[in-house]
């Protein structure tokens, strides 16, 4: 997926279901052995949410968190609390479905070794919204019915992500 030309890279999203080695993956992720960002698909209604968060991470000169991958998770979250953001949007051992995000520089090939490590079944990204939990999303991002009645939900989500560093909700 295309990002800001300044970012000089593209975003690749893959969705997996029934993943059996989540614990193993999480351990490797924490050690920094996997060059990717993995999140719960329950809080993601549409890829544009991730695109806006990742784009912001890449355009910004300085990161708030340690790596570009944790920065994407942090940016997705409506709070400024780093550990809470990573907990909410990152994966835990009970998860079975994973949304994996990698960054591709010009000329880079897909990191097949990385995806081979995931012991699960790849699902088309079109199915992403079937994994989303609308009520949880509204609660997490604090979006009231008053707002959803007039404003499309994706509008509310991406706008919160884009402005959370200087506004609070």
């Amino acid at each position: 997926m295309d990002l800001d030309p300044e970012a000089e890279c593209k975003l690749l999203l893959k969705l997996f279901k029934n993943v059996k080695n989540v614990k193993e993956i999480k351990d490797q992720l924490i050690k920094g052995e996997l060059k990717c960002c993995i999140m719960k698909p329950t809080l993601i209604l549409d890829p544009i949410q991730v695109v806006v968060a990742a784009n912001k991470a890449l355009v910004n000169e300085k990161l708030t968190t340690k790596t570009i991958y944790t920065e994407i998770l942090f940016n997705l979250s409506p709070t400024k609390n780093i550990s809470k953001s990573l907990q909410t949007f990152g994966i835990d051992e009970k998860d079975e479905n994973l949304l994996v995000i990698t960054l591709l520089k010009e000329g880079d090939k897909e990191d097949t070794d990385l995806f081979k490590k995931i012991d699960g079944e790849e699902v088309s990204l079109d199915k992403l919204k079937n994994y989303a939990d609308m009520n949880l999303i509204k609660r997490t991002y604090k979006i009231a019915d008053k707002e959803t009645n007039v404003t499309p939900i994706l509008n509310s989500l991406v706008s919160r992500i884009a402005t959370k560093d200087f506004l609070s909700f």
Partner: protein, 229 residues
């Protein structure tokens, strides 16, 4: 900016249209003012970009639709926001109906504009530049059809002069600015404005009375307060 075309230039900002992150996008760039000291210019611009984004968000939370924000970039002095493809300005919409002699059928539409303004002020959002060009009429089903009011949404835009203020003075001025703008744009303004006020009053129950009193004051003296003594 690559792949963007300039569509409008104002005193404060340039508006570009293009595709960004795969979405139809408006980029609003507040260009450098060379007559200002560079650091003052940077700071002022940053604060104005923040104020504009804040007003856009506050509106959404208050139940007023505004364009989605894709990126706020202080370095490039630009807000990237949603371009509404299937829309026209309330100004053009009103003029089209006026030409057809159908303005009487728009009572409900003006009432809803009044509702929107009432919601703004109820939440202490002062738009600062209310005109019929700064309200968009958007088709809900992504098509170019503006015939049925029930299929249309109102979207407030251009919060470049917006601020948060609870006093009645600024709200009164906001209404007065709108009235003047309507009078200079639409021949039917005198029919329109009372209906807008009616919708405003209905929405903004606990405050419209004071605002109306202030509005009468403002009308008698003009937008600027007398600063004698």
């Amino acid at each position: 900016m690559k792949n963007f075309e300039l569509i409008k230039q104002g005193a404060e900002a340039k508006l570009y249209k293009g595709i960004y992150l795969g979405q139809s996008t408006i980029a609003k760039e507040r260009f450098i003012k060379n007559y200002r000291h560079p650091s003052l210019d940077t700071n002022l611009t940053k604060e104005r970009i923040k104020a504009e984004s804040r007003a856009l968000m506050r509106c959404k939370i208050a139940g007023i639709r505004t364009p989605a924000i894709y990126l706020v970039d202080f370095k490039r002095r630009t807000i990237f926001m949603e371009y509404l493809e299937y829309s026209k300005t309330a100004k053009d919409f009103i003029e089209d109906y006026t030409k057809l002699g159908l303005i009487k059928e728009l009572s409900q539409f003006f009432y809803e504009i009044g509702n929107l303004l009432g919601k703004l002020h109820e939440n202490n959002i002062i738009h600062g530049d209310l005109t019929s060009s700064n309200i968009l009429v958007v088709n809900k089903n992504n098509e170019h059809n503006y015939d049925s009011l029930s299929e249309l949404d109102l979207v407030a835009i251009d919060f470049g002069l917006a601020h948060i203020e609870s006093n009645t003075e600024d709200k009164g001025v906001d209404l007065y600015v709108l009235e003047r703008a309507l009078l200079s744009t639409h021949s039917v303004a005198e029919e329109i404005f009372p209906k807008i006020l009616e919708g405003y009053k209905k929405q903004y129950k606990n405050g419209s009375r004071e605002v109306f009193l202030k509005y009468e004051d403002v009308k008698a003296r003009g937008r600027k307060r007398t600063m004698v003594g």
